[in-house]
């Protein structure tokens, strides 16, 4: 499996055969052909994602709540998204926005006794919510795998890299140690780790940060998963290594054809990697669309704030423009728009709509796949006139 051409991989190769996916035409063309009304209906039914393809992962109306001594923490509220095979969805948001919590729910990694999950998570059509721990175990690491944030703490410090890789393979494949070792060496080679036989016998502390993350990626791809959840895979790495790791993920996706959910707060990463973007704020989706739409024509003041807070090299003398204020407490979410307290455009909405009524997630141009959650009427003109010039 060292070097198959990207498109050679037939769908039958994969474990549970998922319907046609790789061969669909480019996203924009498909959406245009279908026409807005059909696209909207199908999207609402969870059949199609913003790029206009049949999704592999469908998350619908997902809510994750944690009962605590202080009350019920609503970490994720009514979240819906979908990802087709071979595509990347970036979930963007600041700390505590629910991006990690929602993907941990996809993996079924929350402590059942301390978590209340409702809604639907479907993987290739099969419902995951309500599955027993034993059934989830068979999916974890096999059909769905995860790349964690900090490989230093996410890899077991007391086992060799080889041991951890072969273990990951042998959980889901009844093979001998030698076969698993061969597979592990293959994977190490594939993720660009030089001298795999030597590295195989080494411990994580003998690896550099970038090499550790490569090993982590090798481990998560060893079972040829159809969905990879990458939880801020480059956060703990320095900038030059970040680019290498992102390239690696991109190339591996082309080769394996997996769906990727990329959790990040770095819009630079989003621009480089994502097909679709979902912006989260206080446990809710506030804007969702293709990467091109969301990055070029954002229609929600929070997304504008995120874009404005990216430092630009050309305007070196300027100070950073942070979004003022803090996110609301998840124990006690406001009645209206969660972002209202920090939003500089609240006065432009008539009455007290922003603080009293939660805006719905609606198509930005009346119909279509790009949706946002905002009461503002003239979002497009405000963006063009006031926000875009500031972005430089």
């Amino acid at each position: 499996m060292s070097n198959p051409a990207p498109q050679d991989r037939a769908p039958e190769d994969r474990k549970d055969s998922m319907a046609e996916s790789a061969a669909t035409p480019p996203a924009a063309a498909a959406a245009a052909k279908r026409g807005p009304s059909v696209a909207t209906r199908e999207r609402r039914d969870g059949l199609v994602n913003p790029s206009g393809e049949t999704p592999y992962l469908v998350v619908e109306d997902l809510s994750v709540k944690f009962p605590t001594a202080d009350g019920l923490v609503s970490a994720v509220n009514g979240l819906s998204y979908s990802v087709p095979l071979g595509r990347t969805l970036a979930i963007v948001g600041e700390s505590g926005s629910g991006k990690s919590v929602s993907s941990m729910a996809v993996m079924g990694l929350h402590d059942r006794k301390r978590t209340r999950i409702s809604g639907s998570i479907r993987l290739g059509g099969d419902e995951l919510i309500g599955l027993s721990e034993n059934d989830l175990m068979k999916i974890r690491g096999d059909a769905v795998s995860m790349v964690f944030q900090d490989p230093q703490s996410s890899l077991h410090p007391l086992y060799t890299i080889g041991n951890q890789l072969t273990e990951a393979y042998r959980v889901h494949h009844k093979v001998s140690k030698d076969v698993a070792k061969k597979r592990a060496l293959e994977m190490l080679e594939l993720v660009g780790i030089p001298n795999p036989p030597r590295r195989f016998a080494q411990y994580p502390h003998e690896f550099s940060g970038g090499m550790r993350q490569r090993a982590m990626i090798a481990m998560s791809l060893i079972n040829d998963p159809k969905l990879v959840i990458a939880d801020e895979p480059t956060t703990a790495l320095d900038v030059t290594v970040q680019a290498q790791i992102l390239d690696l993920l991109n190339n591996l996706q082309k080769e394996f054809g997996s769906a990727i959910v990329l959790i990040t707060h770095d819009l630079g990463v989003v621009a480089e990697m994502a097909d679709d973007v979902l912006v989260m704020y206080a446990g809710r989706c506030v804007e969702y669309g293709t990467a091109a739409d969301v990055l070029a024509n954002p229609r929600m003041p929070y997304t504008w704030g995120l874009l404005e807070s990216i430092p630009t090299v050309s305007a070196a003398s300027e100070r950073l423009r942070p979004i003022k204020g803090l996110p609301p407490s998840l124990l006690n979410l406001p009645d209206g728009c969660s972002f209202a307290a920090r939003c500089p455009y609240v006065e432009r909405v008539k009455g007290e709509l922003c603080t009293t009524q939660l805006p719905e997630l609606l198509p930005v141009d009346g119909a279509g796949a790009h949706t946002s959650r905002c009461h503002l009427h003239d979002k497009a003109s405000i963006y063009e006139a006031e926000v875009a010039p500031r972005l430089g």
Binding site: G141, P157, L158, H205
Partner: protein
């Protein structure tokens, strides 16, 4: 790895040497009167007292005495009392005039008793203690966890010798449910050896299990919240493998330290257990020689106990480096 062991060995040897000097100084340089102690109080004539001083070479310079004592450990030496010369073979730790036997020989007969006792104890605390602690950590916050932790607190708040005495009195004498403690060498009759040690093993083991359950619970609670545990679960491993392979290996590290020192301490003599269950171990030997002020025996046992502690520390360090590859670097 070899370099690591060699370095530790050198530092261990220097500690043993320091203990040797300290023990010697404690009994022979400090203002004590070994000859007077051996001579006794009633029939001690001046002539006998001087004779003992001469025989023990107490009239020679301290440095020379120390050199002779140390040389004796490696080559053996001769002692003459009342005209009779006795040979004390290497490793000679001195000669007990009260018992008329070399100290080494006395320790040799007692040591297997204590080792047998500690062996069973070690197995019990490492299996039951650690297992119970891990179970509690996995179910932390539940009723079972709280009940367990409360009961360990209750048990450890009753002094050990009370528990041991009660068990000995009620369960082996008044209502003989458990066999009475007695010593039979394992080479003589293994079944009888185990039967005689069963009650002391259970009492010592279960009483101390509570402490081990607490240590390992604390350590496991911490480990189970580590990122690499989440990774292990994300790989699709079962709960059992995650807890007993991934978590236990790092959770055990702090327990190993305590275990090593605990076993080392017990090997130097489990005084209460040996006394109460009638086992002629090192602890009873120490107790008896303290009562009779038998200086050479006290010195010998102190030296042996300190060597045991140094050796156990060395073993703990080596065990550490086997469990944790990062230790080998530093």
């Amino acid at each position: 790895m070899l370099y690591f062991v060699a370095r530790r060995l050198v530092s261990a040897l220097s500690v043993v040497l320091a203990t040797l000097i300290a023990t010697f100084a404690l009994f022979f340089v400090a203002p004590t009167d070994p000859a007077g102690a051996i001579c006794g109080e009633r029939q001690c004539t001046q002539q006998r007292y001087n004779e003992i001083r001469q025989n023990l070479h107490l009239d020679r310079p301290k440095v020379q005495q120390f050199a002779e004592y140390t040389a004796g450990i490696f080559t053996g030496r001769d002692f003459t009392t009342s005209g009779v010369t006795q040979h004390c073979a290497a490793p000679c730790l001195g000669f007990s005039f009260k018992n008329d036997r070399p100290v080494t020989e006395m320790i040799k007969t007692r040591f297997p008793v204590t080792v047998s006792l500690v062996l069973g104890y070690a197995v019990l605390v490492l299996t039951i203690g650690v297992f119970v602690g891990s179970m509690a950590a996995k179910r932390r916050g539940t009723l079972g966890d709280r009940a367990l932790m409360t009961s360990t607190l209750v048990v450890s708040s009753v002094p050990y010798y009370i528990v041991a005495l009660m068990v000995a009195l009620y369960l082996t004498v008044l209502y003989p449910i458990l066999p009475r403690g007695e010593w039979t060498p394992i080479s003589e009759n293994p079944a009888k050896w185990a039967a005689g040690l069963l009650t002391p093993w259970l009492v010592l083991g279960i009483y101390n299990c509570t402490a081990y359950a607490r240590y390992s619970r604390g350590s496991m609670v911490e480990t189970l919240s580590e990122d690499f545990i989440r990774t292990a679960r994300a790989k699709g491993l079962s709960d059992r493998v995650v807890t007993y392979k991934h978590a236990l290996r790092s959770g055990l590290i702090p327990v190993v330290t305590i275990f090593g020192l605990d076993v080392a301490g017990s090997l130097g003599g489990a005084i209460f257990t040996e006394r109460i269950f009638d086992l002629p171990g090192l602890g009873v030997l120490v107790l008896d020689s303290l009562n009779s002020y038998d200086l050479p025996v006290i010195m010998g046992t102190v030296l042996v106990a300190s060597v045991i502690i140094v050796v156990m520390n060395l073993l703990v360090d080596i065990g550490y480096s086997l469990i944790d590859p990062r230790v080998r670097l530093s």
